[in-house]
């Protein structure tokens, strides 16, 4: 994969945004600035973790809406459903009803995303990982992978290159249909995504899901469709077959769900700021005793995704409760079916190596980067250091970087202005004004 722009799913609604700085303060990659009183997201830095959406008190951060009608462009419509879907409902909604609702919505075939784990186990008798360096870092959470591309490029060789369960489930579902003589073009595979990052990954050209998954559907909108169907109190008609899955795989998206299947010493860390704290340590290479790291951007893992309607703790409990009823092993017939497709699957289990994103560097030229860094240090020294955020940058240091990059002026610092209006004007002379964007015309002073 080349260094190419990420597709982003999060946008700021300028009508609703009050420029309150909550999102800017929470953003783990300092991607947000408040300009002209409104939040703006730098697409080169955003990893689609969804923290801003969660932090916004005015619901001004919106996620790209998926259109359910896109599925009807295909004759065969496969839903890849994350196991956490069942966790979104109270015990009164059974798996039967959920599956029936999904068929009613328009899907012809349904597979659990985590069934991909069972496929992997069946193919290799255990879960395999593939990475150039140790400890292996899970690639399950696309926000974490993007975070590593951006902030920890030295750890890219540690990222597991084996496809995620959802991708493997999609690959298998597609393979099974094609083996029945169905043309590839008439099959549409849709992944119901609990978070912005997974949705964004599907939309990114050249990503690991290209060609495999035709579209993403936001979990909350599918949840609404299911609830609408259930509210109509359908007379119990036909009962659909439950998609196969084992109890262990069903728990995969929960904390320690993935690491439980891994060999050696493992750690699982959830919530992106915790992940960052830990990746700093991993980068320093002082933890050679660890074998596998399960890292999730959301609190409590995928049940904490921004698109999940239900409380994440209740959802987790329901998933665990449901898993208790599931078998430990797949049916022999299901295993045989998987093995019949093993040839095709085995050659497609790995993704390409992942490229770094260099957007946090001050400049791509080392000499210029050094000059800018000198400037950052000098500016930081005069700024108040209280990180109030009034300037529209998350910290004083971030404002200094913005000034050094030519994206802001020291005029933005309200504290300096109030403390020493005279000195403030001198500082503007020293550090200069913001360089206007190239497309706009320079105004006369």
């Amino acid at each position: 994969m080349h260094d190419q722009p990420f597709h982003h799913t999060l946008t700021v609604n300028r009508e609703l945004c009050r420029g309150c700085t909550h999102c800017m303060k929470r953003c783990p990659t300092e991607a947000i600035r408040i300009t002209g009183g409104k939040a703006q997201v730098d697409p080169e830095r955003c990893v689609d973790c969804g923290q801003c959406m969660d932090a916004c008190p005015h619901h001004a951060i919106l996620i790209e809406q998926s259109d359910i009608n896109q599925i009807f462009e295909y004759t065969y419509r496969v839903a890849v459903v994350p196991s956490l879907m069942i966790g979104q409902f109270e015990d009164t909604v059974s798996e039967d009803e959920m599956i029936a609702a999904l068929h009613h919505i328009g899907f012809t075939h349904i597979t659990y995303a985590e069934f991909g784990v069972d496929i992997l186990k069946t193919l290799g008798n255990r879960i395999s990982v593939y990475a150039d360096e140790h400890p292996v870092v899970s690639s399950y959470c696309p926000a974490v992978v993007r975070l590593i591309q951006l902030r920890y490029p030295s750890l890219l060789p540690n990222v597991n290159l084996v496809r995620t369960p959802a991708q493997i489930a999609a690959l298998y579902a597609r393979g099974v249909l094609e083996s029945q003589g169905i043309s590839s073009e008439s099959i549409g595979v849709f992944y119901i995504t609990p978070c912005a990052a997974k949705y964004a990954q599907i939309k990114t050209p050249g990503s690991a899901t290209e060609g495999l998954i035709q579209g993403g559907l936001n979990l909350d909108s599918v949840y609404n469709l299911i609830q609408t169907y259930l509210a109509q109190k359908p007379v119990k008609t036909e009962s659909w077959e439950h998609p196969p899955i084992t109890s262990g795989s069903f728990l995969w998206s929960l904390i320690k769900g993935e690491s439980a299947s891994m060999q050696g010493r493992t750690l699982s860390i959830d919530e992106i700021h915790n992940v960052i704290e830990f990746l700093e340590l991993v980068e320093d290479e002082r933890h050679e005793n660890l074998d596998f790291l399960e890292l999730r951007a959301c609190d409590t893992g995928c049940t904490g995704g921004v698109l999940t309607p239900r409380n994440r703790f209740l959802a987790t409990e329901r998933i665990k409760h449901h898993a208790e009823k599931l078998p430990q092993e797949l049916d022999e017939s299901v295993k045989q079916e998987i093995l019949r497709h093993s040839e095709k699957l085995i050659h497609n289990l790995k993704v390409d190596r992942i490229a770094a994103k260099l957007s946090l560097q001050l400049d791509s030229d080392l000499s210029l980067a050094l000059k800018k860094m000198e400037k950052v240090r000098a500016i930081t020294a005069v700024l108040p250091g209280i990180d109030c955020g009034l300037c529209g940058s998350p910290t004083c240091r971030a404002l200094a970087e913005d000034i050094a990059r030519g994206n802001a002026s020291i005029r933005r610092c309200m504290v300096l202005k109030m403390k020493n209006p005279h000195g403030y004007h001198n500082l503007v002379k020293v550090w200069g004004e913001a360089v206007p964007p190239q497309h706009s015309t320079t105004e006369e002073v």
Partner: protein, 143 residues
């Protein structure tokens, strides 16, 4: 650009703080991740040496477009037998220090492995000054 930091003797809980800070700076400059790793491993070892074996000292990093130069200067007590100290696995660390996960005797040899040039000025009852250089222009082969 030059940055310098003080390192306190015996402050194991902060050991690694300087190397983490320098790492953060280098990641914002256009220096390759592989090179940053090498520099930080060497710097970390030197930093821990100051904490574990010296009376305290300073670390100065000079980053230029073509080189990174690091000078680690302590106030003693110095290394009486440098050749022995450079031997892998040789350590004068106390059992207490080893219990904290330090003192494996790999410090100086790890620095030598990672730095392009290394110079150590020391002796019994003398300050120790370690200077190491890393070339940014071409990747020197490190086995």
């Amino acid at each position: 650009m030059q940055v310098s930091y003080e390192v306190k003797a015996g402050d194991f809980s902060r050991a690694g703080h300087v190397s983490s800070t320098v790492k953060g700076l280098m990641k914002q400059l256009a220096i390759s991740p592989v090179l940053i790793k090498r520099i930080i491993v060497a710097l970390y070892e030197a930093e821990v040496n100051v904490v574990a074996h010296s009376y305290g000292g300073t670390i100065a990093c000079t980053i230029e477009p073509d080189t990174v130069a690091i000078e680690v200067r302590d106030t003693g007590p110095g290394i009486p037998d440098l050749e022995l100290a450079m031997t892998e696995g040789y350590s004068t660390a106390t059992p207490e220090v080893r219990e904290m996960g330090f003192g494996a005797g790999m410090g100086l040899s790890n620095i030598r492995k990672n730095a392009d040039t290394l110079h150590i000025d020391t002796g019994a009852d003398q300050p120790t000054v370690i200077t190491m250089q890393f070339s940014l222009l071409h990747e020197v082969n490190h086995a």
